[in-house]
């Protein structure tokens, strides 16, 4: 497994000391990523999905954080790498794209100059002219029309979608084999989102670019991911292939997420199936399963935390944290014929 693995994350734990006390933002996340693979980490605010992604590239290091576990990129440990090593890894081996491309570019420098500078910071032998040429090539490759002219634009002269394309171009400048995209389309209009998703899919195909996609949107996941991790309150509650998660989901939280989607290709239900309650505070987690207070299928065993384990005989790579018997789950997860979480009426 790890022989062909590009990235190997083992039991990653990230704790923060806050005014309210110590909290565990990420509590034991493990996964492998093969070259060219797209893994989606799905969750709501506070699930730990973004903290996981940021920790992979050292962005959560601080006197108030405590990071444990292992993150190996092509076998090299990143968790205890020094800042200089990490700086080289970021950009050269791992590219990053964030939700808001406006805050990722410096507003007072031209787009092309910023991309060229990112290249020259890692490859000092590159001349300014070469950097500029490369920036034009990159902008062109992510579908920016008239790249040779647009290279001299300032960030504010680009539309939101164009800025996100430019951000992707910058992330790819040093030809990394892993892209971490944190809610890359959340701030964009739906028509622009479709273009960016198509671009990510094309890069994945043409460059064999492995991608970790952080998102709250299962529609986006269905469009691009190979495998999915579902996170809740700092833990992975379910992990499987795209089809396993959508067609044979094992955790009630996943049922709830799938059930509450509005489907344009289906008749609309009278009421939207909803998950009752709200995610717990990380400062005051329930004992056992964190989803227990919101789960209509809770039973006595749920006060004990279930491990993330394979519970289906025929799907050893499909893991979940729920004590219910798989057979029972297949009945419980059907709400009026569709996968969902039956919540008591308000």
């Amino acid at each position: 497994m790890s022989a062909e693995s590009l990235l190997s994350v083992r039991d990653l734990r990230v704790g923060f000391v806050t005014e309210g006390g110590r909290l565990q933002a990420v509590d034991g996340v493990s996964f492998e990523l093969a070259p060219g693979e797209v893994v989606a980490i799905v969750g709501e605010s506070g699930s730990g999905k973004s903290v996981t992604a940021q920790t992979l590239i050292g962005l959560t290091r601080s006197p108030n954080s405590r990071i444990e576990g292992s993150v190996r990129l092509r076998g090299a440990e990143l968790i205890d790498a020094d800042d200089e090593e990490l700086r080289k890894v970021r950009g050269e081996q791992i590219g990053m794209v964030f939700q808001d491309p406006m805050t990722s570019f410096n507003p007072v420098y031209r787009i092309g100059a910023q991309i060229a500078e990112a290249i020259r910071a890692h490859r000092p032998e590159t001349s300014k002219a070469e950097g500029r040429e490369r920036a034009i090539e990159l902008l062109d490759s992510v579908g920016i029309p008239n790249a040779a002219q647009r290279v001299d634009d300032y960030p504010h002269e680009f539309s939101g979608g164009m800025r996100q394309r430019a951000m992707i171009a910058m992330a790819l400048a040093l030809e990394p084999d892993l892209l971490i995209a944190d809610e890359p389309t959340t701030a964009l209009d739906v028509t622009v989102q479709a273009q960016i998703l198509a671009l990510l899919a094309r890069l994945n195909r043409e460059r064999n670019l492995a991608t970790i996609l952080i998102t709250h949107d299962l529609g986006v996941v269905a469009e691009v991911a190979d495998r999915v991790l579902v996170m809740y309150a700092g833990r992975v509650v379910e992990r499987g292939t795209l089809d396993q998660i959508f067609y044979d989901p094992q955790h009630p939280y996943t049922w709830g997420l799938l059930g509450s989607l509005t489907r344009m290709d289906r008749d609309r239900p009278e009421r939207l199936p909803q998950i009752s309650g709200a995610p717990p505070s990380l400062l005051d987690l329930p004992t056992g399963c964190s989803f227990r207070p919101r789960c209509p299928h809770e039973f006595d065993r749920c006060t004990e935390l279930p491990g993330l384990e394979a519970r289906l005989a025929d799907a050893p790579s499909h893991l979940d944290r729920c004590w219910l018997e798989p057979e029972r789950k297949r009945e419980l997860r059907l709400v009026e014929g569709e996968i969902g979480l039956e919540a008591p009426a308000p």
Binding site: E44, S45, G143, G160, D189, V190, T191, Q193, A194, Q195, L197, A198, A201, R202, H216, D217, L218, G219, V220, V221, A222, E223, L242, D243, F246, Y247, G256, L257, L258, S260, L261, T262, R263, M264, D265, R268, R271, L272, P273, Q274, I275, S276, A278, P279, P346
Partner: protein, 281 residues
Amino acid sequence: MSTGAEPLLEVTDLVKHFPVKRGLLIDRTVDRIRAVDGVSFSVAPGETLGLVGESGSGKSTLGRAVLQLVKPTSGSVRFEGREIAGLSRRAMRPLRREMQMVFQDPYASLNPRKRVGQIVGEPLRLQGVAKGGELRREVQELLERVGLAAEHYNRFPHEFSGGQRQRIGIARAIALRPKLIVADEPVSALDVSIRAQIVNLLADLQHQLGLTYVFVAHDIGIVRHVSDRIAVMHEGKIVEEGPADRVCEQPRDAYTKQLLAAVPIPDPREARARRQAVRPG
């Protein structure tokens, strides 16, 4: 549902232009942004009209212009047959009881220094509907109606989650028993698992109180779920309007088609089939 009764709200040729100004000492108007550019629609009592569009389409400005929160440049807004476009603040005041707004951001739209009881009770107090113990009881009843508890009366907004804050905003909006509520992206700032709760709450309140909604949002999936009719906005104009299912299933306008085609399908097999059909660059 559209019943053929008198419309509650009738908007005709509504225009809202924002001037673009340049100049150091003396502002010159050099251009106009046509945020709403000649829009007409009507909403029947008890009906939900969905206004869907992307950023810059003018949908939010239209929602605000309907409630006279921004002054329309021209055109007519009739509420129960009465013209309200251009009414002074004073003349609008009694009408404020009839029409309320729910905002997108439940963090920014609640005063952080006021207690929940004050926030929800403010419209009742200002309009002189209730005071003292009666006001308190009324507010506690409102809190329970939106799924909060009477004990929440003395808490501050920061003690609540995003979904609960949106419930507070909704309690404030229904306090005066309005007939019309304009909801501007009421669920788009909320977590996925909370969105359905708020959508269902709005539906319940509509049934219980006979509310009429103008539901403004960019997410056509949510809009279709809540709306009887949908108006699609693009560049300040309504490009298509019709029954919700018809607009979504048999769109006629090119832009509506484009918008619908871009919505991700949360179903891997169907998403794959669609990608095979049109493999984009």
